[in-house]
Subunit: 445 residues, 2 copies
């Protein structure tokens, strides 16, 4: 029997993830000790109310409401409370006392990441957060370590399971957004208040974390452009399918060059986009997550798996726990957060993408020429035009005002600024009845 | 300008990967130094002939034939020569002098891994080998670190690009194996002597490495069961497609329980198998690689990307280089190879899988009953039977001997031993004209 040094592990929070961490730690303690080279002693679990009913099998005497007392003397603190405060204060307290900290708190990292990393670096402690993005899918370590010798060009992630479930459901069943959301709620894929998911806030936090890590640059959450899925219609999803696309909510982190200044910078953004059916991200169904990475040398990579769930997230937390324990055994300071590149973070207007725009027009001579002129005047180059003469609008299903036609225009890469100006000009021109859909196209065939 | 400590990097080999490593190291040296916290000085490149023509832009005065001299005094040695010797001796020499070693040499690791890891551990050095499996796809670090807190149940990898290209080509074009191999050779996906790829030797080496890592157990290459793709016919691929499957060469590492003794152990094996079209591995096309992992807590994960190529593999090597440099800066011993579980490695006869067996029979009463009895006598349980009466054999295309029928029998999980005995008994029974195809089925729908 090998005698290990014992490390004191404090757990803050006993929700769905915390309960699983406590349970797995007890169940596989010996195995984890062998892998870590250190015993992992769960010294306490801080909760709001020790008498609250809980499904997890946590020994009653480990529960405490005194989080601060628990942190003192812990070698490793696992923060799974969520929210900004008191999580932030607790983590700062733990780091300042030299403990390594493991967190799954994406909101906190996206908001106060630099402060926390700075605090860790000052005492040579380490902040681990594999569970904060895409739960069980290893993505933080691959970006920080495996791809450390490469240059990331772009990351496109399906990092929110709720919205992927909803969009996938709309795609496979033809459901409306409302109906797909109701199903997601019923099956437990959406929370009672789904705002953070469907408005893209959750995905934006993850985009900030991924962009910071990939580009060695601090990307604050308020610099992430964000559109949720609430405006996505069943008709758009149907039209996308017919055209060989699928609508996915993407978190994108991209190395971009500003067209005017030539400056290199970073764009982080979240929006529903058309993805070609042949792209690996198109095959990510249900509540699954996937992160697609385009790197200069490595080429295209994809990481796929469960993006949520108590036990799945606990897997990532325990992986971090083994890493933290190994570091304690080996000694030496943690790896500091790398922000050396310090690239400027560009607004959405600097980004160029392809677009697909659907217009409802009156079917009369000269309309296409007039529209093409408006695109050309705003430097947006048209790649494809499809016109369906007469009949209901393929996007809205509307048949009023016929005889009319629908034009679906695909553009080459154009800047957001130019595209917005084009759409405004078209709207104001009186040439079209309505602009029925504007969606970006991401990912090559 | 930050002054970094300088680390001396020696490169052994300047083939397609080595040349890219040298080139990227020169191109992105400053960036890599910032990420590593140390300058990375390429002090020399050992080659067989300094005057040989080479495409890489390596300064002439870095080239040397004196590998041993180069190793002396290097902080980090990158071995990209391939082959067992002298690569093994050079790596042992480097480790014994305290240098960290990075290698992409899967044959060497699968054959002499334990000796090399032992040598590293004795001096506290580290052996990095992210590039040895699936090139640019981060898989070693995710298994060793990210999933260190989880229990791996099974790994199924498409880890050989050549055979995946060939099987994908057969699937999409209906080509014969010979024709698809010819195309692969023409396009540079297969080597002049494709034996290592098509006979599964390359995949078997990777299976040994993955199994060792995932199960904390030394799995020697000679304990890996191996079948190549040379017996896969166009008719089998067509029949698979018709039945909703695709044929893939899989490297499988699995935690198994021996049915008789109840002992837990490991199985590592390589063979062409039927994979349901709905499985994520079925969508891995061309020469791409992917590793699918089933973990107890994390659930299903998949890692996808380029499994070969000079620059892609160089990405993994440089990731290891940054890790090695960070370790030199931080100090402390490397993470030792973990073989604590030391599980028994079971032969293929202990493995249970599902099977699909195609039989050519004379269409007369009682045949199915006779065959079903033979299955039952050998404890193999039938899940599905499909009979196509009269007409050409769907697998061989053969029409002679008609009127006949083809039976396609899908089994529940059965042991290799029982299945082999069943097939032998059927062959000997005189009830069937021929057993036209026996393929294992892997991966759930």
């Amino acid at each position: 029997m090998i005698e290990y040094r014992n490390l004191r592990v404090a757990l803050l929070g006993a929700g769905s993830v915390g309960a699983q961490v406590a349970s797995l730690l007890q169940k596989h303690g010996d195995e984890l000790a062998q892998r870590s080279g250190a015993g992992l002693e769960l010294v306490g679990v801080a909760v709001r109310d020790v008498d609250a009913p809980r499904t997890a099998d946590i020994p009653r005497d480990l529960l405490t409401t005194d989080a601060e007392g628990l942190i003192v003397g812990a070698d490793i603190v696992i923060e799974l409370m969520g929210g900004l405060e008191p999580a932030r204060s607790y983590i700062l307290k733990a780091l300042s006392s030299g403990a390594d900290v493991i967190t799954a708190n994406k909101a906190l990292l996206a908001t106060h990441g630099p402060e926390l990393f700075e605090a860790a670096e000052q005492v040579g402690a380490q902040l681990y957060y594999e569970a904060a993005v895409a739960a069980a899918i290893p993505i933080i370590r691959p970006l920080r370590d495996s791809l450390a010798g490469d240059r990331i060009k772009r990351i496109m992630g399906i990092v929110n399971g709720t919205t992927n479930f909803i969009l996938d459901r709309m795609d496979t069943s033809g459901d409306s957004l409302e109906s797909a959301l109701a199903t997601a709620t019923e099956l437990g894929y959406a929370e009672a208040d789904p705002t953070a998911d469907i408005e893209g806030y959750d995905a934006a936090q993850k985009a900030a974390i991924l962009a910071s890590l990939a580009f060695h640059t601090t990307v604050p959450i308020d610099r992430v452009y964000r559109e949720g899925i609430t405006k996505v219609t069943a008709a758009q999803v149907d039209a996308a399918r017919a055209a060989g696309y699928v609508v996915k909510l993407l978190a994108i982190a991209e190395r971009v060059t500003d067209r005017e200044s030539g400056t290199e910078g970073v764009s982080a953004r979240v929006y529903p986009a058309l993805v070609p059916r042949s792209h690996p991200l198109a095959a990510v169904h249900g509540a699954k997550n996937a992160v697609f990475i385009e790197a200069e040398a490595a080429g295209d990579l994809m990481f796929y798996g469960a993006g949520a769930g108590g036990i799945e997230t606990a897997s990532a937390v325990l992986g971090d726990l083994v890493s933290a324990a190994r570091r304690h055994v080996i000694g030496g300071p943690g790896v500091a957060e790398s922000t050396h590149a310090d690239l400027p973070v560009f607004p959405i207007s600097s980004v160029t993408t392809r677009y697909q725009i659907s217009l409802r027009v009156v079917d009369q001579p000269g309309v296409l020429a007039a529209i093409a002129t408006l695109f050309s005047e705003h430097s947006v180059s048209i790649e494809t035009v499809e016109q369906s003469v007469v009949g209901p609008d393929p996007v809205t299903g509307e048949t009023e005002g016929a005889p009319g036609a629908t034009l679906v225009i695909g553009t080459h890469e154009a800047s957001e600024a130019d595209l917005s100006a084009t759409v405004l000009a078209i709207d104001a021109s009186g040439v079209v009845s309505s602009v029925t859909s504007v969606l970006r196209v991401e990912g090559s065939e």
